[in-house]
């Protein structure tokens, strides 16, 4: 790859600047991406990574600066222009048409060239050939409907869409945050194949291990400005983090050891069953963090939904502080003292068109009102406090949430539930899309909650996070709890063994 670096860059950006109301998102950023190379783009939440990609994709126009491809100046006024020039961005949540097949979804933009008529059979044959070419025959069924696809499959569709036209530059914006480990492997295989075919790949992620696995060079942004570009092989995590945040980060958060609590658990779940989870028994004590580990599809989120009554439950009992509670919906759960921050921030949590303040106060409206009138001073104070504590990067609390960066939107969801301070707090993937520094801040806040006696359940796909944060770990597989480990006995291997226990047909066996 170093030999390529001598040639003209496939994509070169010079002095790119972009300003949004109140925020300078990019400041004179330079960027070069070479064919046959994977370049990682790294930076804190709100550093400007997505904005940069959107400019490359023709979705935003820069205020100033130039783009060139293979030495030729280009200027995109729409995503269509970028596509024609061979530049493609794969967003985390691609638009998939639910009622049509995978094959038609893939060719949706290219259907049918004038004068030609694609028969369904011809279309399908092309897709089958594409799938075989990239080794996805087993990963994606060309006849499946858009609505049946998993997040990973949706992304594959989006990628295959890109590959229907000739691609010269392809960028991925946090592609892996809802993928399982095996799915990540599939994605990486594809990325390497594209790279070997001479495509310039740009890769955005907050996961350091991925950056070291897949990238050849790393470009770091901070506050919208370029900090520098380094060769991956010649750097290490600490150095990258220092470039990102501008200071040394103390080591990854480690939760202090504390004696196992005794007495009455804050939350007891007995024999909880529904369509997705079976016969779940759990106990969480006040002041304790219970981690729930498992592979994607193990039923962890489904368990959380069942506990708060957001999905119907067939059998089982839930006790808060030893008292049985009747829960027939999230509202009852909240009243009983159980709060739940769901996994999918856009679909399940955020009012995208409303302000940061409106979003943070949503679950505490009943606490900050007098005679049904919202006490706005208090509301603002709460919003202000949590934007500060979680360092939500926003010009002010009246900013519309849709204009925040992904990681900052995630922090708004957390802030809503931290503000509620329930007896039991369930957090589903609380640090998804959050940068390294902010993760530590979130862990500190969780720590503070437990110090105040609150019981916290953390669901996470990131094993280091589960291991670092939990006092106890429950491992799930196939909708059941397959084992529980005390923090002292938990290791990655043991958790994984339980996560794949008796599971030789799916993820565990395919390697």
């Amino acid at each position: 790859m170093s030999s390529d670096a001598a040639a003209a860059p496939r994509l070169a950006a010079t002095e790119l600047s972009k300003r949004f109301a109140g925020v300078q998102a990019l400041r004179a950023v330079q960027l070069q991406a070479y064919g046959g190379e994977v370049m990682a783009l790294l930076g804190e939440n709100g550093a400007g990574k997505s904005t940069l990609l959107k400019i490359l994709a023709g979705a935003h126009r820069p205020d100033s600066g130039t783009l060139s491809i293979d030495g030729e100046r280009v200027s995109f006024s729409s995503p269509r222009d970028a596509h024609r020039a061979g530049v493609r961005i794969i967003y985390q949540e691609p638009e998939i048409i639910p009622h049509v097949s995978v094959a038609e979804n893939i060719y949706v933009g290219a259907l049918p060239a004038r004068g030609h008529r694609f028969t369904r059979a011809a279309l399908r044959a092309r897709v089958v050939a594409d799938l075989a070419r990239y080794g996805f025959t087993s990963a994606l069924d060309p006849d499946a409907l858009g609505s049946e696809l998993s997040p990973a499959q949706r992304q594959l569709v989006e990628i295959l869409r890109a590959l229907t036209e000739s691609v010269r530059v392809i960028a991925f914006d946090e592609p892996t945050s809802s993928l399982s480990d095996t799915e990540v492997e599939v994605l990486f295989r594809l990325i390497r194949q594209l790279r070997d075919e001479g495509v310039a790949v740009i890769y955005v992620s907050h996961r350091m291990n991925e950056i070291f696995q897949i990238s050849d060079r790393v470009t770091v942004l901070r506050d919208g400005a370029l900090v520098g570009t380094v060769t991956t092989a010649e750097t290490d995590e600490a150095r990258l983090v220092r470039m990102m945040v501008g200071r040394d980060l103390t080591d990854m958060f480690v939760r202090e050891r504390r004696p196992r609590p005794t007495g009455t658990p804050a939350l007891t779940v007995r024999g909880l069953s529904n369509d997705d989870v079976h016969d779940i028994d759990l106990e969480v004590y006040g002041g304790e963090v219970l981690g729930i580990a498992g592979l994607v599809g193990a039923g962890r989120s489904e368990l959380a939904h069942a506990i708060v009554g957001s999905t119907p439950v067939h059998a089982g009992e839930i006790l808060v502080d030893g008292n049985p509670v009747r829960i027939s919906g999230p509202r009852d759960a909240i009243r009983a003292g159980i709060g739940f921050a769901p996994e999918e921030r856009k679909a399940q949590a955020l009012l995208m068109q409303r302000s940061v303040r409106d979003n943070i106060s949503l679950a505490i409206l009943d606490r900050i009102r007098v005679a049904r009138v919202v006490r706005r001073g208090e509301e603002r104070a709460v919003a202000q406090r949590y934007t500060g504590q979680l360092r939500i990067r926003t010009p002010d609390i009246e900013q519309v949430v849709s204009s925040l960066s992904g990681g900052n939107q995630q922090k708004v969801v957390l802030a809503r539930w931290l503000a509620r301070r329930p007896r039991v707090l369930i957090l589903d993937e609380p640090t998804r899309g959050v940068d390294v520094g902010a993760k530590a801040e979130i862990y500190a806040v969780i720590n503070q909650l437990t110090a105040d006696g609150i019981a916290v359940i953390v669901i996470s796909s990131e094993l280091p996070e589960i291991l670092g944060l939990s006092d106890r770990i429950a491992v799930m597989q196939g909708g059941r709890v397959t084992g529980e480990l005390d923090r002292s006995e938990a290791t990655e291997e043991r958790v994984l063994a339980l996560a794949m226990a008796g599971d030789l047909t799916t993820d565990g066996a395919t390697r």
Binding site: K346, Q353, D358, E398, Q448
Partner: protein, 343 residues
């Protein structure tokens, strides 16, 4: 926790009201005020004798406001429904039903108080029926209120025998005549309803929840909002507004009729959309809806003072509605175009 001096705190003051999430509606409403000014200029060109003469302009504008008052009250109810993500096609028919019910010979015999009460109860009760069908019967709002629209109009015709029911209770009719401080009572009612609605939408938990449900129903549910009960209340509120408007229209006409409120659903929806209420829910303002109604009525007024035929008025109305919806769609498209900030 250490109280970090966040960037948010530092710039909270500077930001102010016009660059927060309040800014878009504010800009939009200023635009509507601009349209109103434009309409006055058109009026001044078309009928300088009215629009450039202080006294006549004042009395003409009071006429406009009076005409706007009943449809204005309905539009306010509609605004809540639309912000919550629904639609209420039955408003005109509910107005007719309330009007007829409150002016039967039997009801009139109890005097004005009972007549008013009857109108309000019939309105709110019918709205409650809408709410039950939608929230608990899980019917699509469009279909449910379409059904009640037909049924309520039919019931009104049945009760009145399709006859106009003259109101003989003169104190009731005085509602439309009384002008405390020279301002028609109908206009005062409109203003009071608008102010109460503004407080309800912007300052109470009810308003916040309405916005949340329309903006993201799943998020609202997971945040502990009782969506069904709230939906029920929103449609009941819309029905209550129909009851209030029924009193106003009936007093103006000094008669109850099953023909009252014809096409009010169309006008109310159009006015709300012009005022910036999203058809998809989650967005809308009371000020915008009030301005939307005023723009509509002012255009009407121009046709009347120019003695143009009603056919032209209807054509113009259709054009305005189409234009308003198109403008909103372009805005939505413009909002969508930059792919939503990816993670």
């Amino acid at each position: 926790m250490i109280d970090v001096a966040s960037p948010a705190a530092a710039s909270a003051k500077r930001a102010g009201w016009w660059r927060g999430d309040g800014s878009e509606p504010v800009r939009r409403n200023l635009g509507l005020v601009g349209v109103l000014v434009l309409l006055y200029l058109v009026g001044a060109l078309a009928r300088p004798d009215i629009f450039l003469h202080g006294g006549r302009l004042w009395s003409n504008e009071l006429t406009v406001l009076t005409q706007a008052s009943s449809i204005g009250v309905i539009t306010i109810g509609m605004t809540f429904v639309m912000i919550s993500g629904g639609i209420d096609l039955s408003v005109g028919a509910l107005l007719a039903l309330a009007s007829v019910w409150s002016t039967t010979v039997a009801t009139q015999s109890y005097g004005p108080g009972v007549m008013i009460l009857a109108a309000l109860l019939v309105g709110a009760g019918s709205g409650l029926v809408n709410g039950i069908l939608i929230a608990y019967g899980r019917m699509v709002p469009f279909i449910a209120t379409l059904a009640t629209m037909v049924a309520a109009r039919g019931l009104a015709q049945k009760i009145s025998g399709k006859l106009t029911q003259i109101v003989k209770v003169t104190s009731f009719n005085r509602i439309a005549e009384w002008r405390p401080l020279g301002i028609p009572l109908l206009v005062i009612i409109f203003v009071v309803v608008a102010v109460l609605a503004w407080v309800l939408l912007n300052r109470t938990t009810f308003g916040r929840r309405t916005v949340a449900i329309g903006g993201n129903a799943e998020a609202a549910r997971l945040a502990g909002i009782n969506i069904r009960r709230h939906t029920l209340l929103v449609y009941t509120l819309s029905g209550l507004c129909c009851g209030i408007a029924a009193v106003m229209v009936t007093a103006q006409a000094t008669a109850g009729s099953s023909d009252h409120g014809n096409l009010y659903e169309l006008n109310a929806i159009a006015a709300a959309i012009i005022g910036g209420t999203a058809l998809t829910g989650g967005r809308g303002t009371i000020v915008g809806s009030v301005l939307g109604v005023l723009v509509f009525t002012q255009i009407y007024n121009l046709f009347i003072v120019k003695n143009l035929q009603t056919e032209y008025q209807q054509i113009a109305q259709g054009v305005i509605i189409v234009a308003a919806v198109l403008i909103q769609q372009f805005r939505v498209a413009a909002l969508r175009r930059p792919v939503p900030p990816g993670a």
